[in-house]
């Protein structure tokens, strides 16, 4: 008894020692509590704009509001005019492509394709007034739209086809008297509606973020921490932190979870070790397009069918557009598992005029990185696939003119003539058009960064560490425990175990048999 007791003590001491020796990190027990407290105090404006005489008057033009703003906020115009919200370009170094100026101004996508020739419609979301064509005056501070971002009255609205001008219904005086720090509505009104409708582009930024529940977004939940976009996308002199790899190429100005949550946020060291190769979003955003569907495929090649000479639309079972004469056919998806790619924070982009190879899908943007890249982590993405128009002779994508502002201008959405839309679009883009067009498969990769789920919904270990059908099943080039194995070792090992077991049974059986025989014989 005493010996068994001693042995148990010995074994216990062994495990105890092992526990002590395991690398463990001293974790602040209340980082979340501290953050909650920090963000519980909401930033309030130090002044009441409705008391200012400069703003208590009717405004005939939105530019007058801007002028009124600038009388006090001097120097701010210069800051805004340096920001990409205004310039719609950045100068970036792209790996393999050198230094290029890239932005909404000149990049193409596989949704509405590009702004060139379509400014009246697309530039509704430019932080300015009247960017209706490439002759827009980027030097005039009065063209800055302060209200799109700073309206706190929830009544400001930019007009459709207005090149960024406010809707005529807007009471400019009321808006001017209720300005302040940008709210979720200010940001999401543009960022959630890119590509011509709610959640079309991103999949993780949409109107559900106006007032999200905790399940939709654990940070911005209106019944919870109620964070604003600008709490993470902080700004210094109107230069806002964060960017999207649909347009950005360089590893800079990124928003990171670690800013608040530190680089060792988990109590479990094994999880912290994951962070060397796995981005936070990968586990903490298990699903995107949580509330409303996002577009997954856009086939431009079917556009242009008419009924009785008129364009029409078809809806799928869930009530979303499946066909529009002006745009073609779509596939939407809701509550989707992201795709996963390596990303080191750099990307390359297709720019107007770059050559294409029609034999394979064209990557309009491509995220760089692989397992061996020290900067690269696995991130969740949405992949948007499309079939879009290209010049079959000159072998580059076509920037078609889609929007029509006056009769006969070639706008596809009025004339349904690809030939004309291509001629006019490429004329405006300053590139030759051969007169022959076709449709090419293209792909865009959109990182999923928003709509972080509550802790309980985090991706479980075995959603990746599993032999088959895991989330990372397609991500090759590295050894993932639980997923990967050497079939040779499995076969040899399994065979060896089988041999051992059958050896045991044969030998044991023979012993039993011979001993019975012996006993019988005796």
């Amino acid at each position: 008894m005493k010996r068994i007791f001693l042995a148990l003590i010995g074994a216990g001491a062994l495990v105890g020692l092992a526990l002590v020796m395991l690398p463990q990190r001293a974790v602040d027990p209340t980082p979340q509590a501290r953050l909650k407290q920090q963000y519980a105090t909401k930033v309030k404006s130090s002044v009441d704009h409705s008391k200012f005489d400069q703003l208590k008057r009717p405004f005939a033009k939105p530019q007058e509001v801007t002028a009124a703003c600038l009388t006090c906020h001097n120097g701010r115009a210069g800051e805004v005019m340096k920001s990409s919200h205004w310039t719609w370009t950045r100068t970036e170094y792209i790996e393999g492509q050198g230094i290029r100026t890239i932005g909404k101004k000149n990049a193409l996508n596989n949704f509405c394709i590009g702004i060139e020739g379509n400014e009246q419609s697309c530039n509704k979301c430019h932080a300015g007034y009247g960017y209706g064509d490439k002759n827009f005056d980027f030097k005039n501070p009065l063209n800055i739209d302060c209200l799109a971002c700073h309206d706190n009255s929830d009544t400001y609205l930019k007009a459709n086809m207005g090149a960024g001008m406010p809707d005529l219904k807007v009471d400019l005086n009321k808006v001017a008297e209720h300005v302040g720090r940008p709210t979720r509505v200010n940001c999401v009104t543009c960022h959630g509606f890119g590509g011509g409708g709610n959640n079309v582009k991103h999949g993780d930024i949409e109107k559900a973020l106006f007032e999200p529940t905790r399940d939709v977004d654990v940070h911005m939940a209106s019944e919870g921490e109620n964070l604003l976009c600008v709490d993470c996308h902080t700004a210094e002199k109107h230069q806002i932190l964060g960017k999207m790899y649909s347009l950005s190429s360089m590893n800079r100005n990124r928003v990171s979870c670690e800013t608040c949550h530190s680089e060792v946020p988990h109590k479990d060291d094994v999880l912290n070790k994951h962070m060397l190769k796995v981005a936070c979003q990968t586990c903490h955003i298990p699903v995107y397009a949580k509330v409303n569907p996002t577009k997954l495929r856009w086939d431009w090649s079917t556009a242009g069918k008419l009924k009785d000479g008129e364009p029409y639309e078809e809806k799928d079972a869930s009530g979303t557009d499946s066909y529009l004469s002006i745009k073609g056919s779509f596939i939407w998806g809701k509550k989707l598992k992201p795709d996963y790619v390596w990303s080191n924070g750099t990307a390359s982009h297709y720019l107007l005029g770059d050559p294409v190879d029609p034999s394979k899908p064209l990557k309009i943007n491509e995220l760089h990185g692989n397992y061996n890249d020290p900067e690269a982590k696995i991130i969740p993405v949405k992949i948007h696939r499309a079939k879009q128009i290209y010049d079959t002779e000159n072998k580059y994508l076509i920037q078609p003119k889609t929007v029509s502002t006056k009769p006969g201008d070639g706008g596809y959405w009025k004339e349904f003539n690809w030939q004309r839309a291509s001629e006019e679009g490429m004329k405006l883009a300053g590139l030759p058009y051969s007169g022959k067009y076709g449709f090419i498969e293209t792909e865009m990769t959109w990182p999923i960064n928003h709509m972080v789920s509550p802790k309980g919904q985090t991706v479980a270990c075995t959603e990746c560490h599993i032999r088959e059908g895991g989330r990372l099943a397609e991500l090759k080039g590295f050894y993932l425990p639980g997923r990967d194995f050497s079939s040779l070792i499995e076969r040899l090992g399994g065979g060896m175990l089988l041999l051992t077991l059958s050896g045991v049974f044969v030998h044991g059986g023979a012993r039993y048999w011979t001993s019975r025989k012996r006993k019988g014989g005796e």
Binding site: R3, L14, M21, P374, E375, C461, H465, L497, T500
Partner: protein
Amino acid sequence: MRKEYVYQAFERFWHWTQAALILFLGVTGFEIHGTFHFFGYAQAVHFHNIAAIAFLILIAFAIFWHFSTGEWRQYIPTLTNLRAQGEYYVLGIFRNSPHPLKKSVLSKLNPLQKLVYAGLKLLVIPVIALSGLLYMFYRYPQRYEVIALRIESLRTIALIHTAGAFLLVAFFIAHLYLITTGRTLTSNLKAMLTGFEELENEPNHAPEERSQP
């Protein structure tokens, strides 16, 4: 026949703890390997890491014990009588022949055991322990990397570790069966549990004078 104190207290503690740890490491390890689900993946990883360190500590004590007592000499492989022992397992055991070699306190292991245990202690355990350590402390390609030990990928480490695990499981199965091949079906088991075993008198060796613990 006389009762001899064959397995000392530490030896038995070491043996049974090691057995438990290897079984536990096997179960948790093959769960991590994706062979089956039992504890849950995170738990399996956690338990495997703790048991691994416990195993390393145990190994350290066992090494000390083997050298301080001189018991390590029991494991020196020998070809002498290897054939006889082999023939016993293949033929003699079925004819109820006596064991070809007399077990004594000074010679507890038969030549086949010496060979297998030496292989286990010098090859399989070191390989699985070292690959396990490398697995645990593998540096993923990362920023601000200090390159002390350049291991290109986890794959090599993991595969060696897996191969070692298969060998240990095979050993475990065979070992369990061989328990029954002692003088009687349970004599080996009883000896390892109590330390005492009935041994045949051996003319060449005077009975060891050993004080009981």
